[in-house]
Symmetry: C2
Subunit: 246 residues, 2 copies
């Protein structure tokens, strides 16, 4: 699968998600990763400095959403004039606005949200889902989408950042909120469980090790998350009342 002349891909951020990214992109790109908290590369990426990583023709930002603005300021002076910059955060509206505001004209920008993580993608990512959002030119998003579909065999959804965040507010907002409550109830029974309860606990296990920054991005940095939470809590209050009336 490895091409003899792989183009360079700068990967800013080499945490759990950065490593998953490198694992699946290293067949297609020479991955040059930068992460101030990481000191050693591996089979999938060479660790380098920010300047070198940011100068690659493709730059992937695998940093927490809340660290994006500082990252953009740091890479901006080093980007190629027509670099393709892609963020992979869990929300898309806020990063799209930040990237469009911070990066020079000419730089191509695409938002991507792989709907999987180190846990759900640990046995391979073929058939898993990714949202791809245009930020500047639609054709750049189409190219990224085509690569995800054909090279990575992902199921691709091309949507606006707004449409993405509206759905993610429910899909991720609810999952992480419910998981947070259930994690705080532990220890939970493991013996006389039902199939339904086991699915619930599998859902919890898949987000159990997500970082607090992921939780903040999903619950705070998605402009639609608050209204979904309000609706969930209103219906929970209603359910509580219904049960008291049984």
């Amino acid at each position: 699968m490895t091409s003899p002349e792989r183009p360079c891909l700068g990967l800013i951020g080499y945490g759990a998600f950065g490593r998953l990214t490198a694992r699946h992109l290293s067949a297609w790109f020479e991955v040059a990763a930068y992460d101030p908290a990481v000191s050693e590369g591996d089979a999938h990426a060479v660790l380098t400095d920010l300047t070198t990583a940011a100068a690659c023709p493709v730059v992937v930002l695998a940093v927490p959403v809340e660290a994006l603005e500082d990252t953009l300021s740091a890479i901006r002076p080093h980007l190629a004039p027509d670099a393709l910059v892609i963020d992979v955060g869990s929300v898309k509206v806020k990063p799209a606005l930040a990237m469009d505001a911070a990066l020079p004209e000419g730089v191509r920008i695409v938002g991507a949200h792989p709907l999987f993580g180190p846990q759900s993608g640990k046995d391979g990512i073929v058939g898993l889902r990714i949202a791809v959002c245009p930020v500047r030119e639609a054709k750049d998003a189409r190219r990224v989408a085509a690569f995800c579909r054909h090279a990575l065999k992902l199921k691709v959804f091309q949507v606006t950042p707004e449409d993405h965040d509206r759905e993610a507010a429910v899909v991720q907002g609810l999952t992480h909120l419910i998981a947070r409550v259930l994690l705080n109830m532990e220890p939970l029974p493991t013996r006389m469980t039902t199939a339904s309860f086991e699915r619930l606990m599998q859902a919890v296990d898949m987000v159990r090790h997500d970082s607090p920054a992921v939780f903040r991005a999903i619950e705070r940095d998605n402009p639609f998350a608050a209204e979904v939470r309000d609706r969930f809590f209103a219906l929970a209050d209603q359910a509580r009342h219904d049960v008291d009336e049984l």
Copy 2:
């Protein structure tokens, strides 16, 4: 599998769970089912009247927990002096007390809670779980447990009704409560879903068609359900507060 001389088993209640019961017991018993709302038998049970069903050496009560007391009054005059009576409700403390109070001395009583239903058991029940609770003689519960283990190949938990209800208050109480809230939020996204959200929705789908009587039994007739709900709602309030502070 069908024995030439199958003993008679009276099945009171021939709803969705009664049918699942008959499907798996008809290899071992001649199932005589009684249900005033059902007019036709099938390959697994002969429909009969209450008197006939109640007179069988084994009587299984597959009625809603809230209908149990009336059912006990109705069958009581027709039971054999040493009949084995088994309820299969989702809670065990309340039915155990009701059966012990209502049924003549000499009648053997066991509580059982199959931790599956028509949905989760639709592709077979081998390896699925059942709780078996002694109500009068411990040896009767042991016999029922042995049958479930060896004949039905179930995973059996022999526990007291109290221990059962304490765990079920969490396992079923939480699942049905969360499912109720999520069902009230429908339509929910089906497109850009994560693996975690899909597990959550699978959990919901497994209880989606449970009757309101099942919900009432789980949330109202389990003596420990209210304190689990209180804890869940307190932690939900805490999570809500935490998110507002992010």
